[in-house]
């Protein structure tokens, strides 16, 4: 193994502090699926577009290495579900109303058009090689393949490794200026004041250390939700969070909060339990499972005994076909995660008392994904299409098959949390509040992808990106640039370069660990006011003490150091939001020991936080503020065919 020479020169020219200026009508922050979709929509609407991406845009973002499900697509021609029902059922029945009606409905209406656009750009969405002719999940006429629910057909199986390269090439053809390895650090505001119109941003190049000031008429925030807040250890298996890449450090959340944007749902943030950093996780999708990419794979115990599945109504399901075809009284299957740990109550799942029955000796560990026992088409769809196209699995497919794994013969072992019941840790998403155009509470600032609270999935990322990018371009076409305030830029420069001015001090890793410990101790699964007040005090101390000695030896370490500072801000946001909601709420996975009543009527609403000057202000918002979905969609739709 090559071992880096500690004193060798940095491989890129270093130009700390050198300032470059760029100008955009629409500035896109983040180059993942939502950012690229927003950029493309804005460019097609005639705007001059700049994208800032701290990674490499061809592959950056949570879907950078691929994805396999195009969810939330009742607008496709084979679906039998009305988009409004598709939007309301999961939120009303399984989220207690704590969901995002606006972004879900926009996605439900638009995502098929968006998918067809991606096909035009070169991403494969159909079984063109006729590998699955006659399969129960294939539409023979369109050659589209469906997942989860082969009857009502709202989720498609697609060739997602082609998504980002297709979008990246389209940006280049549409003359979008993509600045890679360029990390946005702060939003610039009119007159330099908190809460004013957003007029641009600052950024730093993570290879050269050069500074960038970007002037923009409109900004679309497309960065990811923060991760590694509660658990941090880079030494074990990399900076692996459960859901997203290690670049997910909440940069967008932190800078938008500092600029005065309003956030909702932040109190619902929960810790990552399975990241490689815990030492428990396995390579994503690289072990046997019955969930997500692996749905509806049969699971057997060490003696080959099948673990039974239960339907949506709790009835036993005898066949694989029953796992993919709802009864009329079931409505439709939908991959929505309910309030119970590890459960997705709107699709069939394994018996919920599997753990107890293992303890009683009914099933013998270890468990295996019984691919050879699956119908041939489902087996090939799981291991061959899904495992092959999902993020990380291009490698997983090749590694396993090169090592002799054969899905026709072999059962892949299940490792999820040391053989606990299969399923997912609830996902956690708090983000900016927004109106029907996806504009945030700050003028000039739109949100897309994971910046839209409760946002999840590639279809939602691309659909909200297209929607926000279009509206941002419309706004930009009718407004002039505002002058950048020099003192705001200088203050940010002083903040950003602090870590490279020190020869020694605290490393970003040690600071990250220290932050995680405060979150574990004072903002864990069970909270109370006393705990969180002490926690906020210790976060403040970290900011005043260790954070001011943070040290970076090169532009790459500087990126990680700024990430650690942004994570610190995100932790403060979560504590403030958690203090503001003075009630427990199991729908939000939120437990206040000092307010044990679950979701009392007075608190059945969004609790919001924002910065006013240097003070955090709490507010609220009705859960159903979206109003009439169909009417509001029609009023604000600028993109789809009906517009």
């Amino acid at each position: 193994m090559d071992t880096p020479d500690d004193n060798a020169a940095w491989p890129y020219p270093v130009t700390y502090g050198d300032e470059v200026e760029v100008e955009a009508d629409v500035l896109i922050l983040g180059g993942g699926a939502s950012g690229c979709s927003a950029a493309l929509a804005a460019a097609r609407a005639g705007a001059r577009v700049v994208v800032l991406d701290k990674g490499a845009t061809r592959y950056s973002g949570a879907a950078g290495s691929g994805f396999d499900h195009w969810m939330d697509c009742p607008s496709n021609p084979a679906s039998t579900v009305d988009p409004e029902h598709y939007t309301r059922m999961p939120i009303d029945d399984y989220k207690g109303g704590y969901g995002n009606y606006i972004s879900t409905y926009i996605t439900a209406r638009d995502s098929y058009d968006v998918l067809l656009e991606l096909e035009q750009l070169g991403m494969q969405i159909r079984d063109v090689n006729d590998e699955f002719v006659g399969a129960p999940f294939r539409d023979e006429q369109t050659k589209l393949l469906y997942a989860y629910d082969y009857t009502t057909r709202n989720c498609l199986r697609v060739w997602g490794t082609g998504l980002k390269p297709a979008l990246f090439n389209a940006l280049r053809r549409n003359r979008v200026q993509v600045l890679e390895r360029t990390m946005a650090t702060a939003l610039l505001t009119e007159n330099g004041t908190v809460g004013s119109r957003v007029i641009g941003c600052t950024a730093v190049n993570v290879r050269t250390g050069a500074f960038l000031v970007c002037k923009a008429k409109a900004v679309v925030m497309c960065m990811a939700t923060p991760e590694r807040l509660w658990i941090f250890s880079s030494e074990l298996t990399g900076l692996v969070g459960r859901d997203g890449p290690p670049t997910n450090a909440g940069n967008g959340h932190a800078m938008a909060f500092r600029a005065g944007a309003e956030f909702a749902r932040m109190e619902s943030s929960t810790h990552e339990e399975w990241g490689g950093a815990t030492g428990i996780g396995t390579v994503m999708f690289g072990s046997g499972s019955n969930f997500a990419s692996w749905y509806p794979c049969s699971i057997v115990d060490a003696n080959g005994k099948e673990v039974p599945w239960l339907g949506k109504g709790g009835q036993p399901l005898e066949t694989v076909a029953e796992r993919t075809n709802p009864r009329p009284e079931d409505g439709f299957f939908h991959l929505v995660l309910g309030p119970e740990e590890g459960q997705a109550p709107s699709i069939p799942q394994l018996i919920p008392d599997l753990q107890e029955r293992i303890e009683q000796g009914e099933y013998t560990l270890p468990l295996y994904a019984n691919l050879p026992g699956m119908p041939a088409a489902d087996r090939r769809a799981i291991f061959g299409l899904m495992i092959g196209q999902e993020g990380h699995t291009w490698t997983v497919y090749r590694q396993l098959t090169q090592a002799g794994f054969d899905p026709d013969k072999d059962q892949l072992q299940v490792y999820e949390r040391g053989n606990a019941p299969l399923g997912w840790r609830r996902l956690r998403y708090g983000a900016m509040t927004h109106d029907w155009t996806l504009k945030t509470t700050l003028d000039g600032l739109w949100a897309a992808g994971q910046q839209v609270f409760d946002g999840i999935g590639v279809a939602q990322a691309c659909s909200t990106g297209r929607w926000a990018g279009t509206h941002a371009a419309e706004f930009a076409s009718d407004i002039a640039h505002a002058p950048i305030v020099r003192s705001q830029v200088d203050a940010e420069k002083a903040r950003v370069y602090g870590p490279v001015m020190r020869d020694d001090g605290v490393s970003w890793k040690e600071l990250s660990g220290g932050i995680a410990k405060v979150m574990q101790e004072y903002c864990g699964d069970r909270k109370n006011e006393t705990l969180m007040r002490i926690g906020l005090r210790y976060l403040e101390e970290l900011k005043e003490a260790e954070a001011t000695t943070l040290c970076a030896r090169n532009p790459h370490e500087l990126m990680r150091a700024i990430e650690a500072l942004d994570i610190l801000t995100c932790c403060e946001m979560i504590m403030h939001a958690s203090l503001a909601r003075q009630a427990s709420c199991s729908w939000l996975f939120f437990e206040r020991l000092d307010f044990p009543d679950d979701d009392p009527a007075a608190w059945h609403k969004w609790v919001t936080i924002r910065l006013e000057g240097d003070r955090v202000v709490a507010g609220d918002l009705a859960l159903d503020y979206a109003g009439d979905l169909e009417r509001n969609y029609a009023r604000h739709n600028r993109t789809s065919v009906e517009a």
């Binding site: 298996t237 769809a381 072999d410």
Partner: protein, 125 residues
């Protein structure tokens, strides 16, 4: 006492000890084959995390400077024009390698085992 070396330990007394470096992670997430790699550096530009950096000498294999930050997404492999020739391989950590069982025979296998079964050559869909 006769201190002749057991088999395989010839030269043991001359082995040198060094200080390190003490590596930041036990894992080697990306392994290059110096023969097959052309040093085109496309993998460096593909990595969203900037785990890799170029070497000073042109044509040399990239340096895995930040192995502790790799999340095994495989974009470097996907971009490699010499993947089939074995130029680059993601190397899953030993603590995270899949295991499986052949249904008919009950044999156990794992990724990285000493005597693996023959490769399954069926390509993905």
């Amino acid at each position: 006492m006769d201190q002749s070396s057991p088999p395989g330990l010839q030269g043991l007394a001359d082995r040198k000890a060094t200080r390190g470096p003490n590596l930041v992670t036990p894992n080697q997430p990306i392994v290059f084959d110096e023969e097959a790699c052309t040093g085109c550096n496309l993998c460096i530009e593909a990595c969203p995390i900037d785990v890799l950096v170029p070497q000073a000498s042109p044509g040399a294999v990239p340096l895995v400077l930040y192995p502790d930050e790799c999340w095994y997404c495989g974009c470097c492999e996907m971009r490699c024009p010499e993947y089939d020739a074995g130029a680059i391989r993601i190397n899953f950590p030993l603590m995270q390698r899949a295991r499986w069982k052949r249904r008919a025979t009950g044999e156990h296998f794992r990724l990285g085992m000493k005597n693996p079964p023959p490769p399954n050559t069926r390509p993905p869909v």
